[in-house]
Each structure stands twice: as structure tokens, then as C-alpha cells.
Symmetry: C2
Subunit: 343 residues, 2 copies
């Protein structure tokens, strides 16, 4: 079959059923372009078929239920020669720690199969060399930390998930240096406020103590309110991917993994922002109940960054945590706090 | 066959036909112990059967021709449950750059198969958890560099070889953290003086300009004599492996990759040491003939380190470059310079 070359970009999002993946697909569909290049076609892939964004200006959107842990999947995803590939599919931290084989299979092997499929496609003489935006994580770092983590701090992960992501970053760098692709790795902050049901992940409380009170529900704070962490809203995270997809990568050199900007904020500051945005009644719904296990896990996390390179390249963090809450109210609660205000 | 458990350690050296591997095998055989633990048995493996050390106090030494690029090899190497595994087998820098697939196969896949075979063995309930000493390299680093590279500098390799070794280090850390093995990665300096025939690798001249004049032969210096690099003698490198094999790894924490000590020395200082040890006639055998390609490659290499962690853990560099030359004369020239002095 002759492949008709459509004008405009072909975009592939892998992991498009996940929280960030869905929002990213919706943002691409709404904007209809990557930078100044119009999007002609989008493929949204995940292990279950992702939803098609409800609104937008991209007509040609297809969804695909693809298990990247099947070695045969990657060639199929790359066959239509997507110009932009956002790779967000992963086994998350807790599961990669519980199931060693599954974590390495999905987070390392499947990523390498994808990159090797791109490499094979790039060898056909057509000059194919897609932009690849790889979702990485601050979990590539492990303590002890300096007060602020700079752009040249070592990757010494304290989890298998962080290890697998650090390896993925190295592959992005090498496969890009060799000319097979044009990659960039985004080390995402803790995403807050995460929508959806309360999450039992160790980091879940950062979102729970905001999201639940905003709809009049109680939430548990398992750590001291002096705990500091590095956060970005889902909207900022989506913005990082869009910016990376359109970035002039000649400015990156061979170091293609970037610490994304965020807010360094304590739990106490989060709570004050909640008071500011939703009033004291919301704050009263937070119950303090220390959990030594969560406290120990969180004590090993990085608190503050100096993400100078990403900032110089135009990546932008949220302006304030109040803004983060307003983004959540806007995106998830239809812009209103009525469920809670009704009390 | 019932495996008789001999008293003392079982030692496995993979890559035992290589320059450092042979010297390491000879050192283990001569000492007959790892730290204070006697060696009961040694297996020396390489893609061709390595030589058996001529002297020594270890009676049970077997050699094995094993291609680690065959996925079935690893289980066989691990089956006798070696207590100490030194893994030095690798495709070198130039070849890994020329043959992408071979580099990833040997330096990444085969390393992972080895570690997975250890993991499988460790799961049998016997408490098996071998010491693994992994040969890594300063090529895990890429420029731009600080004046001195500290222990927390990022790994941003500029070659596929460096990428593969950086990934190996991450696996050593994670597999050790998970309790499958007790690993340590040694980032070796440039080894100088390398014995053997003149080497066309970009780094070869660092050794050539010493080794050849020491036997009365000419050698070409392709770079300015202001070029600075980080070197260790083969004897020091062997010492690093022996020290790592016996180290108390509880002092390492989760960061198990260490920058090895060395000498930061310019080519001019090398030449002065040669004059000191072998006289002005030796120095006159060095012909200066700049090679822009070699100059460009070498300009991307690290020059100086502050290997504080390794030093605190008892790893020791050569005392001076004169000593490095004397080690070479001692080990490779029978302690004498007669071939040259005869002129």
C-alpha cells in the first residue's frame, strides 16, 4: 500500500489513557498544532484504547489498544512514521518495586523496543528522525541531596522505577546523538492536584488533602506540615510536553534530560493556599494522622531544584500554588466550588 | 553430580583474557586470598580461554571459553555459585561506536543476563548474594566538565560505550539495593602504560609515547603536550579490583559507582617523567605530529577528578608518574631498560 503523505504532522501519544496522557491528547486536539506546525493526524495508544478528546480541531484521530510489553508492538506504532512521539507509558513506582520483572519489561525493555523500532525506521534512507518526548521523573535522583538540586546533579535512583527511567534517559541521549531520533526527557515534578479517587501511593496525600476538601470531603495528612516537595499542576505538565514537542533541540547539546520547573512548597504552604482559595472550612476537613511509613518514604524525596536549563529553554512552572488550585477547580470542578459551598 | 562445597571462596573473572583481566587473575592467584578470605577455586572466563597464571598459591583454577553474548552463557557461569564475580568483559569504546548492535548486545544485554542469572540464583533460599565488581569507566562522563569532577557529577556520556557502562552501573545499584547481589562499579582512569603493540585507539598515544621509547622505538605524539588526563597504572587498576572484592560495602550506601583515584597529568609531565626514569635519549624518540581528529576527540575528555569517596574507602592511586613508569619497567621489561640502553 502506498502511504499517502498528509500535509502537517503525525503525532503519536503512547500512554494516552493515563492522567497526563489524556490531558496532553486533549491539548494537542484543541490547539491543532505543535508549535507552528499543524497536526494532520493523531494516534492515541495505551494498553486500553484511550478516549478520543471531545473537542478540538484535529479531525484525524485514531485510538489503539496496544500492549508495548509485546515486543511486536513497537514496529506497528512506528510504521506510520509519526513526526512527534510522546512516550508516557510506564509501570508506576510502587508497582515497579513490587513486580521487578514487570517494571523492567515495561519501563526498560518496551522503551528500548520502541527506540529500536524508530532506529530501524530511521535507517530507510528517508531521513526519518522523529521528535521523541520521554516522560521521566525526579525519582532518577536519590539522597543525600543538596539544598537545591542543580542541572548537573548525579542520577542515583532509590527505586527500580527511578532506575528504569534513568536508563531510558541515557538511551534517549545516545539514540539522539547517533541520529536515530531527536529526543528529550522531561523529569516531571510531583503532579498536584491529581484528579480522581484518593490515591494510596505514598505521594497521594499531597493531592488528597487539596482535592477532597475542595469538594467538601475529609482527607488525611500523614506527615508533618513542614514537609517540602517539588510540584507542578497537571496543566503545567501538559505544557512541558507541548513545549518539548516544538523545542529547538539544537540548544540542548548531548544532555537531553531536563529537570522541569516547579514550585518548592511545604504542606503548610499548600494548606494556606487552600485557605486562601476555598476558605477555612476546607482546611478544617484535613485530619492530621501521622504515618511513620509514609513519613520515612517522603523523607527520602528531593525538596527543591534549580532547573536553570529548562527555564532558559522556555519551560514554565505554575506561578503560585493558589494558581495550581485554581487550575484544578477550572479543569476538574467546572470552575466552581459549589459542592463544598453548599454545606 | 553433588557439588562439594570447598572451604574458601570461589572467584569468577569474566574478561580474564584482557589486559587487566590477566593481571587481575595473576594477582588473585599470587595472593591466594580476597582480603582475609582464602580462595578455594578460580574460574577464568573470556570469549577465548584465558591463560592460567604461571605462579601462585591457588591450586584449583579452571579456564572457560564463554561468549557472554550468548544468552545461555550466564546461567552456566553462575551455576557454581561464585562468591566473587569480577566482570571486565566488554566491547571497547571504538568498536561500540562502530557497531551499535554489538556494543549494546555485549555491554548492556550480556551484563543484564549475567545480573539476572545472579538474581535467579539468589532466589533459591540459600542466601546467595555474591560480591560483583563491575568494570566501568570515566567515559560515563561527558563535557562540559568542571575543573575537577566530584563524586556527585552527572553521568552524561558522549559515546555509546559510556552509555552502556552508565546503564550497567544503574543496574549494579538497583540489583544490589534489591538484595540480589552486592555490587560495586569502578570507574577506571585511562590505563597507562598499556603493554602490548601500539594501539590506534584515540587514547593509545598516552601509552605509546612511553612504552615505545622505553624499548628504544620511536612513537608519535598527536596532540599538544598541554593535554591533561586522568591516569592509573595497570597495577593500580588491579589493586582497585582486589580492594573492591574485599570491601565492606555497608559503607557505600546506595551509590555503588565510584570514581577511581588517579593522577591528573599533562603530556609534558609524562615526558618529564620519562626523561627522569629513562634519560633524554628516550624523550628524543617522541616525534610531534599533530592529528586534528585525535586532538578533537581528546579535547572532550575529563582532565581532573576529586575522587574523595573512593579515597575514603581506601582505594589508592599511583604515587607519581615516575612510579607508573617503574611499574611498567618492572612488570613488562623484567625490571631493566637494557634493550634501550644498549643503543
Amino acid at each position: 500500500m502506498v502511504q499517502q503523505q498528509a500535509p502537517g504532522l503525525r503525532v503519536l501519544v503512547i500512554g494516552a489513557a493515563g492522567m497526563i496522557g489524556r490531558k496532553l491528547a486533549a491539548a494537542f486536539a484543541a490547539r491543532g498544532s505543535v508549535g507552528s506546525s499543524p497536526i494532520a493526524h493523531m494516534t492515541l495508544a495505551d494498553v486500553v484504547a484511550p478516549p478520543v478528546p471531545e473537542d478540538g480541531v484535529v479531525d484525524a484521530i485514531e485510538t489503539a489498544a496496544v500492549d508495548i510489553a509485546d515486543p511486536a508492538s513497537a514496529a506497528g506504532l512506528v510504521a506510520p512514521r509519526p513526526d512527534v512521539i510522546c512516550h508516557l507509558a510506564a509501570v508506576v513506582s510502587g508497582e515497579a518495586e513490587e513486580d521487578f520483572d514487570k517494571g523492567y519489561l515495561v519501563n526498560l525493555d518496551a522503551t528500548r523496543w520502541l527506540f529500536d523500532a524508530i532506529r530501524a525506521a530511521s535507517a530507510d534512507g528517508s531521513g526519518y528522525r522523529p521528535r521523541v518526548v520521554y516522560a521521566s521523573t525526579l525519582a532518577v535522583f536519590g539522597g543525600p541531596f543538596p539544598d537545591r538540586i542543580g542541572d548537573e546533579f548525579l542520577t542515583a535512583p532509590a527505586t527500580s522505577y527511578g532506575t528504569q527511567k534513568a536508563i531510558g534517559e541515557l538511551l534517549v541521549n545516545d539514540y539522539s546523538r547517533r541520529g536515530f531520533m531527536d529526543g528529550i526527557s522531561l523529569r516531571l515534578p510531583t503532579i498536584c492536584v491529581r484528579p480522581g479517587a484518593p490515591n494510596k501511593a505514598a505521594s497521594g496525600f499531597f493531592s488528597n488533602i487539596m482535592r477532597e476538601p475542595l469538594v467538601g470531603e475529609p482527607a488525611v495528612l500523614p506527615v508533618s506540615d513542614t514537609v517540602r516537595h517539588w510540584v507542578a499542576s497537571p496543566r503545567s505538565a501538559v505544557g512541558f510536553f507541548e513545549h518539548a514537542a516544538a523545542l529547538d533541540t539544537s540548544r540542548l547539546g548531548v544532555r537531553r534530560a531536563l529537570n522541569m520547573p516547579g514550585l518548592s512548597i511545604t504542606v503548610a504552604e499548600q494548606i494556606e493556599a487552600l485557605r486562601e482559595v476555598a476558605g477555612p472550612g476546607a482546611v478544617e476537613l484535613i485530619r492530621r494522622e501521622r504515618d511513620p511509613l509514609v513519613e520515612e518514604i517522603v523523607s527520602g524525596w528531593s525538596e527543591d531544584f534549580d532547573p536553570r536549563r529548562a527555564e532558559q529553554l522556555g519551560f514554565e512552572a505554575d506561578a503560585s500554588f493558589e494558581d495550581v488550585l485554581r487550575v484544578h477547580i477550572d479543569e476538574e470542578l467546572g470552575g466552581r466550588l459549589e459542592a463544598w459551598e453548599g454545606r
